[in-house]
């Protein structure tokens, strides 16, 4: 859930504060950065730079109301800046529909996620995908809105739209699979 607001620190405590925050949030932030950048090195750089900027801002006496949302926002901006600059990060936020990489578990069952896996296109816009992704990291709508630069109400609307598209994709996948079964020639024929 939303971590407590952080107020200006005593200098000696900043590293400890960063270590504590890191322990709680780093995995989720790195997962998000990895999905956004689709490049592990960029994801690690983004995570490290975000925590360093957090140190800088806290050293400057800033109060950061939602450190988690703040870190996600910095990571996102960092990755998007690199993309705009045309660096090694080129792909988009395709986490929901890409083939599993070596570091992502391959689908093993019949879950919704598995059904979505491998679908060439389910029609989620980049913003919808980011909202879904940030929601799975347990960010509050207000935090998602801050990360993406949206109104809080827009986040709810985007999630609802994404939900509709995912439902449709799942149902299409199901009916496609059923049709596939029907269309497959009977070996006895």
């Amino acid at each position: 859930m939303d971590p407590s607001p952080v107020s200006p620190p005593f200098a000696a405590g900043i590293e400890q504060e960063i270590a504590d925050l890191y322990e709680k949030e780093a995995s989720g932030i790195l997962r998000y950065a990895g999905a956004l950048a689709e490049d592990p090195e960029t994801a690690h750089d983004a995570l490290q730079e975000a925590f360093f900027r957090f140190f800088l801002c806290r050293s400057a006496g800033q109060s950061i109301r939602s450190p988690r949302g703040w870190l996600f926002r910095v990571v996102r901006n960092y990755v998007l800046d690199l993309k705009r600059a045309g660096s090694r990060v080129e792909a988009g936020m395709d986490w929901i529909r890409t083939e599993p990489g070596p570091e992502r578990a391959a689908p093993t069952g019949d879950s919704i996620f598995d059904r979505l896996h491998g679908l060439p296109e389910i029609g989620l816009s980049p913003r919808e995908m980011e909202c879904v992704r940030l929601r799975t990291e347990d960010l509050r709508y207000e935090e998602i809105a801050r990360v993406l630069g949206l109104q809080t109400g827009t986040v709810g609307a985007l999630l609802a739209r994404a939900h509709g598209k995912i439902r449709k994709a799942v149902s299409d996948a199901r009916s496609g699979a059923q049709q596939g079964l029907r269309l497959r020639p009977d070996p006895r024929e």
Binding site: E15, Y22, F52, S59, E103, R104, T136, Y141, G156, L159
Partner: protein
């Protein structure tokens, strides 16, 4: 009347607000159709969260890199990033408040994070927190601390 899907999703995420949550809970107690919708929403969220929760990358090495970069920063080994940040902040302060205002903030031996603190206060008060944040982001954009610190320590 059934709640819209967006409201059920918000309810599922504890984002619907107390009043609306109460109304939705009362409706759910009487409506099997909406209970089914909510179950589906919850199920999908759990599946997506479980998929996302797989450890894609190992963050173990990153904290050491951050703490090393902080130590290097404190010792003044920043590869010029501190002076670049100071210049950018001074430029922004000049742009928004004029040279005399910027100079009035200056103290001998002022560090980049102190400039950042002064700029924060000025920008927040006069431009508002969101615009202040945008200007601050602009100052920090493209500056890298951790990778250069890592490379210098090799």
């Amino acid at each position: 009347m059934h709640p819209k899907i967006a409201r059920l999703i918000a309810y599922c995420d504890s984002e619907a607000g107390a009043d609306r949550s109460g109304r939705i809970a009362r409706h759910l107690s009487e409506c099997e159709l909406c209970r089914g919708r909510l179950r589906r929403i919850r199920g999908e969220k759990e599946e997506l969260s479980a998929s996302a929760a797989a450890p894609a990358l190992d963050p173990g090495r990153d904290l050491d890199a951050v703490l090393s970069a902080i130590a290097a920063w404190r010792e003044g080994r920043d590869g010029g990033a501190a002076s670049e940040l100071t210049s950018r902040l001074q430029w922004q302060l000049e742009k928004y408040f004029g040279v005399p205002a910027m100079r009035s903030l200056e103290r001998p031996g002022m560090r980049a994070e102190e400039w950042l603190g002064e700029a924060d206060r000025m920008l927040d008060v006069f431009l508002g927190p969101e615009a202040g944040e945008a200007v601050r982001d602009d100052c920090l954009r493209g500056l890298a601390w951790v990778r250069p610190a890592r490379e210098m320590s090799r």
